[in-house]
């Protein structure tokens, strides 16, 4: 009887480890799956697959929305809203564009609407610059110039920059963030904002001119 129990326990152990292995394999598969595969799975009813899409894009979307709004609380709410909107209407997603383009558009449109309504909380977090900035060649070159910048602290510089960005209109701020901060192409920005490349270029030009004027003491 004891031997039988031991045998049953051994089988159970093997079954458990097999289930765990399968589970781990499933997680790896899902983590490595393409966006198209994950979207297809969600559309077929496997809602857990959406978690992998959230994990994949949350930080990139967050960065865009944060630079547009200027504070973490609004950025968090708007990105969460964008993911919920995408999740609830994923059945209507026809896969004509990539999932990222689609959700990026949702997030940007929601952010622009939020900014137009004037509900922005206008609180900047000045203590969240990562340590990699010290090795960024752009930043090193910026601080090496013989200008009043040498005397200003990084936080003050960040404060002035954020204040100048907030003075731009929503659409001008959006193109500056997307192009100059995030490095998107004019075509991608046009798709996200539903406007032509020419409009994007024009907005970018005026926004840069305005920023040059606002940050004249630091340039």
């Amino acid at each position: 009887m004891t031997a039988l129990r031991k045998l049953a326990g051994k089988f159970k152990f093997h079954a458990d480890s097999l289930a765990d292995a399968r589970q781990a394999e499933h997680v790896v598969d899902m983590a490595e799956a393409t966006d198209e595969t994950l979207v297809a799975r969600v559309q077929d009813g496997d809602v857990d697959a959406f978690d992998y899409l959230v994990e994949r894009y949350k930080e990139r979307l967050y960065a865009t929305v944060y630079h547009m709004t200027g504070n973490h609380a609004d950025a968090n709410d708007l990105v969460q809203d964008a993911f919920i909107k995408a999740f609830t209407s994923i059945c209507s997603f026809k896969r004509e564009s990539s999932f990222y383009t689609w959700i990026y558009r949702i997030a940007v449109n929601r952010t622009l609407n939020h900014l137009k309504r004037g509900k922005n909380r206008q609180q900047f977090s000045l203590d969240d610059i990562d340590s990699h900035i010290q090795s960024d060649p752009d930043f090193v070159e910026l601080m090496s110039h013989v200008t009043p910048r040498r005397e200003v602290s990084l936080n003050e510089l960040q404060d002035k920059l954020n204040a100048a960005l907030q003075k731009l209109s929503e659409h001008h701020r959006a193109v500056v963030v997307m192009h100059d901060v995030q490095g998107l192409t004019h075509a991608d920005i046009g798709k996200a904002l539903h406007c032509s490349e020419g409009t994007v270029r024009s907005r970018l030009f005026y926004a840069r001119q305005q920023l040059q004027g606002l940050l004249a003491d630091y340039l």
Partner: protein
């Protein structure tokens, strides 16, 4: 160089730096910048602005900021889904009722109860049904109209009298008062 060319040059500076212009256009831009001090200052400031904007790339919300992001997402989805549920769905959730199980277990008793209630209502509450005389058939109507037709005709003839006023008979040649006056 005129103002228009300065404006065009300023707009093309970024594309020139990114190598997106054709060789001839890029050469024109570079030549203009070399000759125009205003555009040179603009180019220098623009470059510094780009370096300043690089600071934004390093703004991060903190190392543990996204730890609960997925959990919060699930919570918000549950709230959004709950708000969309109907009153009956929320009621069944509140009392942990599975609609299919409830339907299976209570369908027959509910049907029986409804039948009994219907019987009771019919017997006690509703008034007794009163027999209404049925309307005569079509053939009876036809028989009645055929039988009374001569009497109705006679009555109509009796009612017909000579009218009190009658118009003069219209003659073939109407009287002309103008012609008559000529004869007088």
């Amino acid at each position: 160089m005129n103002e228009m060319n300065c404006r065009q040059t300023k707009q093309l500076l970024h594309d020139c730096a990114d190598g997106r212009l054709t060789e001839s256009v890029a050469r024109d831009v570079q030549r203009h910048v070399a000759e125009c001090s205003d555009c040179r200052v603009f180019q220098h400031r623009d470059r510094q602005l780009q370096q300043l904007l690089a600071v934004k790339r390093h703004e991060t919300p903190g190392p543990n900021y996204f730890n609960n992001f997925l959990g919060e997402f699930h919570q918000r989805v549950a709230t959004a889904t709950a708000l969309r549920r109907t009153f009956w769905q929320r009621l069944s959730d509140r009392f942990h009722l599975d609609p299919i199980v409830v339907l299976r277990s209570s369908f027959m008793p509910a049907l029986g109860a409804a039948f009994v209630v219907a019987l009771l209502l019919r017997g006690s509450i509703l008034p007794a049904r009163v027999e209404q005389p049925s309307p005569p058939s079509l053939t009876a109507y036809q028989a009645l109209s055929l039988a009374s037709a001569p009497a109705l005709l006679a009555a109509a003839q009796a009612d017909f009298r000579t009218p009190r006023y009658m118009l003069d008979r219209i003659t073939a040649t109407p009287a002309s008062y103008e012609v008559a006056s000529i004869h007088f």
